[in-house]
């Protein structure tokens, strides 16, 4: 007896005798047609290889991914999610039941297609005396990519619930399928082109100067990211099922991403490689800041958690963008300390410290801008408005200033500290001295803070009046 009710329920819906017979029958007819269409034995094999890989992509990476996302989205759209949240099914059983149960039928067809692909590829390669290693490795890559795409679609679906805590509008799983499939295209094109003229299995990648075989690196990376996606889904499911969620896994994941990506830039100058983690962490903060909900109740809950002085409550109520911005601050302090204490050789310490301070100040300015637009209760498309304003501040206005030959204003708007100032730089250039950059960033942050607190005061007054 299967002790996973969610898996059983999905199997009741997905697996029927009719469907079990129909899948191999339809695939068989398609492969037969592909075989007949080939004018030579090799041509037939090539057709079968192409058609089977295409069938696998359709079944597993599109249809299967859709089912994986729908296993979450449909519960919300059909108002059955509350029943599930009130059940005593554990988060892990829920994830396993939904993922395996909803995609099993697609995997049934996918495995048939993939087996035909592997056999046809091996036959084709042995007929032209090519290496048999390619079909095996390509099949493995396809299999792992299929799993990752389905998991990514499911992750996006459950993340959309976690982000949008007010009842989500009729969600469509299609958006998540498209997003996860598009993200997998480079991986797919690499996999399918392996063994062809310009894609050798022998190529290597300089990751932390290790010179690892490109294909092995891809395989291992895929497995690691499958692990992280599973962890992400499990954690979000835990949150949905009312378990208190502490952000330590998120912190470890953020650090992993930074360390992983840093490996590709190991040969860059020391200043760049030292600043890279800061920029990566800042980018993640921006991403979360725009993705997470920023409503009054969320911050009120955080405030009351602080009042209760229970660390579990505080961490559980803290938005992830706050946690990541703490990492940005921690790394900045570490970087400045290392530079000031001369623990590492940095050519221009003042430039590096100024860059760190300017980054922190501009980040705080943008956090205030985003919250400025999110403050009004009747706000609409607040995050989109904030993005537009940031584009104006970072690109359009400076560009306009440059076109009008006003380099001073452009440098104030985007205060980029440069190490060569003032000896080699003329008045008409992008970039200002570290001190000027810090002053310009402080001014911008102060203006943003002033505007934010003025609006906050106004809204508080409005709320007080409406309560009266």
């Amino acid at each position: 007896m299967i002790r996973n009710p969610e898996l059983t329920r999905n199997l009741w819906l997905e697996i029927t005798t009719h469907r079990l017979i129909a899948m191999p029958l339809i695939l068989g007819v398609i492969f037969l047609l592909a075989h007949v269409a080939g004018h030579s034995p090799q041509g037939s094999l090539r057709n079968i290889v192409n058609i089977s890989s295409f069938a696998y992509i359709i079944l597993v990476m599109i249809w299967g991914a859709k089912n994986a996302a729908s296993s979450i989205i449909d519960e919300v759209n059909q108002n059955t999610w509350d029943f599930q949240k009130l059940s005593s099914i554990t988060p892990w059983k829920m994830v396993v039941g939904k993922f395996i149960g909803s995609t099993l039928y697609m995997w049934y067809g996918g495995i048939i297609a993939l087996s035909v692909y592997a056999l046809a590829s091996i036959s084709l390669n042995s007929s032209i005396n090519a290496s048999l290693f390619y079909p095996v490795i390509k099949t493995s890559l396809l299999l792992l990519t299929g799993i990752l795409v389905q998991l990514a679609a499911m992750f996006l679906a459950i993340a959309s619930l976690a982000i949008n805590k007010s009842k989500p509008a009729r969600l469509s799983s299609l958006a998540f399928v498209i997003a996860s499939f598009l993200a997998s295209i480079p991986l797919l094109s690499y996999t399918l082109s392996l063994g062809h003229r310009r894609r050798s299995f022998q190529g290597s990648i300089d990751w932390y100067d290790l010179g690892i075989n490109y294909t092995w690196f891809t395989l291992v990376t895929l497995i690691i990211f499958i692990g992280w996606t599973c962890t992400g889904i499990y954690r979000l499911m835990k949150k949905e099922l009312q378990y208190p969620l502490l952000p330590w896994v998120w912190t470890v994941f953020t650090c992993f991403i930074v360390i992983f990506l840093q490996g590709f830039f190991i040969k860059t100058p020391p200043t760049v490689s030292l600043l890279l983690p800061l920029f990566l962490l800042t980018c993640i903060t921006y991403l979360l800041l725009l993705a997470e909900a920023k409503t009054g109740p969320i911050y009120k809950k955080l405030y009351y958690s602080f009042k209760s002085r229970k660390w579990t409550n505080i961490f559980a109520a803290t938005p992830l963008w706050v946690i990541t911005s703490m990492l940005v601050i921690a790394y900045s302090v570490l970087l400045c300390a290392v530079t000031i204490l001369s623990l590492t050789e940095v050519p221009k310490p003042s430039f590096l410290i100024a860059t760190v301070i300017v980054t922190l100040l501009l980040l705080s300015r943008d956090i205030l801008i985003v919250h400025f637009f999110n403050l009004p209760p009747n706000r609409k498309r607040a995050d989109m408005t904030a993005i537009i304003y940031m584009i104006v501040l970072y690109f359009l206005l400076p560009w306009l200033c440059l076109l009008m030959d006003n380099f001073t204003l452009a440098n104030i708007l985007v205060p980029i500290p440069i190490s060569e100032f003032p000896d080699q730089v003329t008045q008409k250039s992008i970039g200002i001295s570290p001190l000027q950059a810090v002053i310009a960033a402080i001014a911008q942050s102060m203006i943003a803070a002033l505007l934010f607190f003025r609006r906050l005061k106004k809204i508080k007054k409005m709320n007080a009046n409406s309560n009266d």
Binding site: T8, D82, G296, Y304, N378
Partner: protein
């Protein structure tokens, strides 16, 4: 005299949606084995309150305790003792009634004797003849009963129902009333939110009136009855009214006020049932042509209107 320990205790509950406070400092307690009618105008906060009680939504301040379990500290433990049915509930349309109930039984950890659990609840809900029918083929009333079955298969201590009677025909509503009384008699504590006050009157023992996110009234029907025993309004109808009856109508110590409209008389009477009988005898003895004599009951509607008007 021993006081009953409340099964639900809510203290200073506050819940907010962006820019709008749905529950404002709500506090109340509910005794076990009772049916509480949760009433209030649209947007009063009934659904939010029920969702907070079910630990599906978390308030930013205040506490909820059900059967001694704090909803914020142990929401999963609390949910084991709860059954909740939302106003817009959904069913797995492609599953049969038997599969739906089996799934729910397993979901609540009832892996042993599942068929027994399923057939018991199906019989109780009068859907035992529909076990092999798919949920999508059921009528509105049958779907409602299946949903209640799903919410109660694990025999929760507390059952929360949000507008369970909406869209049901009179027969299905009658069945629902009987079902709720049955659950109550088995020891369940039930909170039902509804707009149909007359129907709530049939089975509710308490009424909680919510308006603008605040509790306006929390009355027990037994208290109302006791109050009515002390003072009520008597409706008297005569075949024809004559001015000479005025003195006779006032000639009892319990009569406080008399209002006459044509042949109908409303008497504010501060006396119990035996005093009412005594008063009727007095009227008949004095040859008043009485064709109707009844104590006017304070209906749920009256209590509700008074509370909402506050």
């Amino acid at each position: 005299m021993t006081s009953i320990e409340p099964i639900i205790t809510v203290t200073n509950l506050c819940y907010e949606y962006p820019g709008y406070r749905a529950l404002n400092d709500v506090s109340f307690s509910i005794d076990p084995h009772s049916i509480t009618a949760l009433v209030g105008p649209n947007g009063a906060g009934k659904t939010t309150l029920l969702r907070c009680l079910a630990a599906l939504d978390h308030p930013f301040s205040g506490t909820i305790s059900i059967a001694g379990i704090n909803s914020q500290k142990e929401p999963r433990k609390l949910q084991r003792h709860l059954g909740y049915l939302s106003d817009f509930f959904g069913l797995y349309d492609d599953l049969t009634v038997h599969q739906s109930l089996t799934y729910m039984a397993w979901s609540h950890g009832l892996h042993k004797n599942t068929n027994e659990h399923v057939s018991t609840i199906a019989k109780k809900l009068d859907i035992d003849s529909l076990l092999n029918k798919k949920a999508k083929d059921l009528s509105r009333g049958q779907r409602q009963r299946l949903a209640i079955g799903q919410a109660t298969i694990h025999q929760p201590k507390v059952l929360l129902l949000d507008e369970p009677a909406s869209g049901l025909d009179p027969e299905a509503r009658h069945l629902l009333s009987n079902l709720l009384l049955d659950f109550k008699n088995q020891g369940m504590t039930i909170i039902v939110s509804s707009h149909i006050l007359a129907e709530l009157e049939d089975y509710s023992s308490e009424m909680l009136v919510l308006k603008n996110g605040a509790i306006k009234e929390h009355v027990s029907l037994s208290t109302v009855t006791k109050e009515e025993e002390q003072c009520c309004q008597l409706e008297i109808r005569l075949t024809s009214y004559n001015e000479k009856y005025h003195k006779t109508l006032h000639a009892h110590t319990s009569v406080q006020d008399v209002t006459v409209t044509n042949n109908d008389i409303i008497v504010t009477f501060a006396g119990n049932e035996s005093q009412q009988a005594e008063y009727l005898q007095h009227l008949v003895k004095k040859s008043l042509p009485v064709i109707r004599f009844a104590a006017r009951k304070k209906s749920f509607e009256n209590i509700y209107i008074e509370a909402v008007g506050k």
